[in-house]
């Protein structure tokens, strides 16, 4: 699995800001729970489309995608540059792909990459998957629980069915919680941290454990959405008996929403490349409130 990645060009030093705002002890407690010491934020001229193009060119430095074989573009963002059309059409024009491509724009949050991969695997054709997010554009003033978590970034991936096999997937959502992590038009985003935390602990983790048990597979790696440091710590505590390798990068990059899992896998593979036949589990959770889980088998070394 090879990814192109991009991050917002401005760096927000959370640690310094919180030290000044709340004092060192409170800042230390806060970062212990949230994770990131710095965040990557879009510059004035950056947006989800420009970040996705940047990620695409980063991918092209690593591989030469055969665009003739690509039949779909699945583009994930909650912050398209216009209400319509979706970013996928602008992206397709920018990368000069054939005009018979099937473009699918999806409004999806932290489950985005898993949603897109699940869909692309079902489509049976080669697909470009783009995840790009700029939550900083939904935050006009500092809010302790939100402004300390989210980075802006993008990821690009070309799904080749010869390299990945779908074993099993599962989706779920919790009714009447959609407003608990949401953004109304022309307003700042809002997050009810207690409800989101409760959702991860009482819905995502139990469903994930049930999924793992039913799969009856030995899982070599688990890649979880990097919601916050405390959430990742809870996931590791509850799931380490099912898998020894659960990497994290929340402290280094922050929560990149739909681009989180691609960045996490990309960072992990630099240190620990995939082996043939490895079984990997991906789990995204958040906006909805929803979760998406997918179990994959790696075919060939990549």
């Amino acid at each position: 699995m090879i990814f192109g990645t991009a991050l917002g060009s401005k760096i927000f030093n959370i640690e310094k800001f919180c030290n000044e705002e709340f004092g060192e002890e409170k800042a230390r407690q806060l970062i212990k729970k949230t994770g990131p010491k710095k965040l990557f934020i879009c510059g004035k001229n950056e947006n989800t489309l420009s970040l996705s193009i940047k990620a695409w060119y980063d991918l092209k430095k690593k591989i030469t995608p055969n665009l003739h074989d690509v039949e779909n573009i699945v583009y994930i963002t909650e912050n398209p540059i216009r209400k319509f059309p979706g970013n996928g059409f602008y992206f397709a024009s920018k990368i000069k792909i054939k005009n018979t491509i099937n473009i699918i724009d999806i409004n999806s949050g932290c489950t985005g990459f898993v949603d897109a991969l699940g869909l692309a695997l079902e489509l049976k054709k080669e697909s470009i998957i783009i995840c790009s997010e700029t939550y900083s554009k939904n935050i006009s003033k500092f809010t302790r629980s939100i402004s300390t978590l989210f980075s802006d970034g993008a990821a690009a991936f070309v799904l080749n069915h010869n390299n990945i096999e779908l074993i099993k997937k599962s989706y779920g959502f919790l009714e009447n919680t959609s407003n608990d992590l949401s953004c109304e038009y022309n307003q700042d985003m809002s997050m009810n941290g207690k409800v989101v935390y409760d959702f991860t602990m009482t819905s995502v983790i139990p469903n994930l454990i049930s999924f793992i048990k039913k799969s009856k597979r030995k899982i070599d790696r688990m890649y979880f959405h990097q919601g916050s440091r405390i959430v990742i710590k809870n996931f590791k505590t509850k799931l380490s008996k099912y898998c020894k390798h659960i990497p994290e990068n929340i402290s280094l990059k922050g929560n990149l929403v739909s681009a989180t899992i691609p960045h996490l896998i990309n960072d992990d593979l630099i240190k620990r490349p995939l082996k043939n036949e490895e079984i990997i589990l991906l789990c995204g959770f958040g906006v909805g409130l929803a979760y998406s889980i997918i179990l994959l088998k790696v075919k060939g070394k990549k």
Binding site: K26, K33, R144, K194, V195, Y197, D198, T202, K238
Partner: protein, 84 residues
């Protein structure tokens, strides 16, 4: 503190320790925000302490994380057979 079913005194001690305040400041009428230490971070600290004491059982209770007062938290624990 032992890991048996908790009583009210143990519960208060856990909350006080999580919030890093004296136990004399803790009463069952307290609501989130009544103490400056009980903000969203303090709330996570309380949940973490309860989960540790109950060996992971507290975090599986739906709605425990969204309780807004110690009375509600205590009643939820009792309802789920983790407190007496």
């Amino acid at each position: 503190m032992t890991n048996s079913k908790m009583d009210e005194n143990v519960f208060k001690k856990l909350v006080a320790k999580a919030l890093k305040v004296k136990i004399s400041k803790i009463n069952m009428k307290l609501k989130i925000g009544d103490l400056k230490e009980w903000d969203s971070l303090g709330h996570l600290a309380i949940l973490g302490a309860l989960d540790k004491f109950t060996k992971g059982k507290a975090s599986a209770i739906q709605g425990l994380g969204t309780t807004n007062s110690l009375k509600k938290t205590w009643e939820t624990l009792k309802k789920n057979n983790l407190a007496k």
